[in-house]
Subunit: 211 residues, 4 copies
């Protein structure tokens, strides 16, 4: 199997990798996606632009990779209570999205934000970035999908329901609000959303004591 192939010449500096991602991260937070400049990222990382482009062929590629890395692994607990587990999970996701919303929005300065939106646009621009983004989300969604599957096996969801569709309804609603309508995504909304979705999928009684 693919021998190590005896690298020739100077090896790539792993140090550089870290410094770049670190610098890029800061820059992304400060400027937002579209005012993020490769030149500045290189300068901040103390690295030549060539070094950036040797690793990622494009700004879009770099930033997708960056976001994939800083993506906080949203933990999924499976307590046996789907409703509760979903609320916990989606609340965490919503928190992340809400944080994204504020990225790059300096107070007085005319801001630029919507990292998620720009990522999505990047995915539409380059096929390979698209694949990366989709892989990113596929990986990220594995756990919650499994959660739904297990719940169905336990009989908490109707047998003929589809985990994928259910998940689309949940995650989709959040992203729709984030990207399209801009409406707030608070805990109350998350709870209502989960209730509504589960109502159709088979659980008996929605939790009555929510706001």
């Amino acid at each position: 199997m693919t021998a190590p192939a005896a690298r020739r010449g100077r090896p790539r500096s792993e140090d550089a990798d870290e410094r770049i991602l670190q610098a890029a991260h800061e820059l992304l937070l400060q400027r937002g996606y579209d005012r993020f400049a490769m030149d500045e990222a290189a300068v901040r990382a103390g690295v030549a632009k060539t070094t950036l482009y040797r690793r990622w062929p494009t700004k879009d590629h770099l930033l997708v990779a960056l976001v994939a890395k800083i993506q906080d692994e949203v933990p999924v607990a499976d307590t046996g209570d789907v409703r509760r587990d979903l609320v916990v999970y989606l609340t965490a996701v919503a928190g992340g999205l809400n944080r994204m919303r504020r990225v790059g929005r300096t107070a007085g300065d005319d801001p630029s934000a919507g990292v998620v939106a720009e990522l999505v646009a990047a995915a539409a621009r380059h096929p390979d970035v698209g694949e990366a983004v989709r892989a990113l989300f596929a990986r990220r969604n594995t756990l919650p999908l499994a959660l739904l599957d297990r719940a169905r096996e336990r009989g908490e969801l109707r047998a003929d329901s589809s985990s994928a569709v259910l998940f689309d309804q949940l995650a989709g609603a959040l992203y729709y609000r984030l990207l399209v309508t801009g409406e707030p995504i608070g805990p109350a909304y998350v709870a209502e959303l989960v209730d509504q979705v589960l109502a159709g999928a088979g659980t008996a009684t929605p939790n009555p004591e929510r706001t």
Copy 2:
């Protein structure tokens, strides 16, 4: 009330407006969002670039306005059968989105696409574009929301369900697939989606003979 206000100065040429939007439309279809150039739009419209910028301060502004205009009013029929009405409506929406997906994707040429994605990114870049986009969708969603409301009044939906949340689930799922996961949005998916959502919100029996 609202006096005619005696226009001063040369009035804006409505002719120019039309020619610009017409030219911009064609150009958007041919090139896609990011290879759309203001310069070329102006030339095609037979108009000075300044005339463009007098109306829309930015390429993003122009394109949002353009999409808002060419947004074909998706018709909403209220036949008394929510399920059917929703399927019809969402199928139309999905059709539009799928068409958007292909915009600018010339065969061999490495394309640029995702008009919706870019629009959403534009909305995130400029606050005022964001408002415009939100207003656009608010207007666009009025009819389907009313449809849901009426269905509830007729007893087809549970009294404690929320039209807004239901709608987010439906539209959100479509946009999620379009923008994030990239999965196809076919008639089967639309039907499944509607069934699942209505299962929780209503009493209607899901149509059994779907694919």
Copy 3:
């Protein structure tokens, strides 16, 4: 001869003429030639741009007319002492030029100046402006030329000397310093210049008590 031709329609507002020239004057002093904007001049004069262009077909035309007007009539005294008369006259001219030099040069602000230089360039751009400028200078130079002529008649200058050439030497030196070398044009220089020129043209003893 040329009957009054019975003007029809609304007569031109003389008031406007004055307000325009007044405003233009201020603006020229503040901004200098090339940052002088017709738009701003119109606004300041409380007049429509059309009104400007009805009177002067071009920014260059307006400014030449303006300078021709504010050109302080440099007085020429003929005391019978050419040397003294020339020194007085040239000192006045030099004063004017030195003042021109500073026009538009705001302290910190990146300045723009050289009204004379720009006028000269304008004269090179439009033939008719050129004529106007030449006429302006011809008129302006009539008196000093006559001064030289009278001095020659009095025997203070050699009979075979040419007033025109003498004058070119004097005025030319000043403009050369102003426009080309940028060297200072002080009283000492003026005196030296006159001495040198008169030495060749026929006066016996240069004034010994100059600096």
Copy 4:
């Protein structure tokens, strides 16, 4: 002394320099100063516009540099006969100025010309261009000034005359005619001018057989 300083990064392409100046030269001759467009210069040089702006921050800067370069070194012969040497020198200068006059003046087309005038205006607009122009002329005038100095040492000029002032009279007269009065600058004029100036500064008998 001045170590080689180990150049870092890609060196500026000297080839580009030449091509730019070459193209700019042609363009200036064809179009004249104000119809000279940076864009076109770049295209003709086969170079990106940014490459132009990396070298000269402004059209004015470029053109001054260009003229400074193409300024044919006017040769100064020192034959021991000031009058003759001056006539030769000034005739050459006048030739250059007269050529400048015609630059860009296409026959039927309403032209734009007066490169010298525009240069002088440019010098007035940007302080640094002013310095460059002054340095240019200082360098250019060194030789003729030395010529005058040597003539004085030989006793051909009065000991108390000033070379600088004499030179201003000569050059100034030419530029005055070129820029201000627009009168022709022919051989006869040059001869007359030199005679008149030397009459005051020296002892030489003016050449009687001129026109």
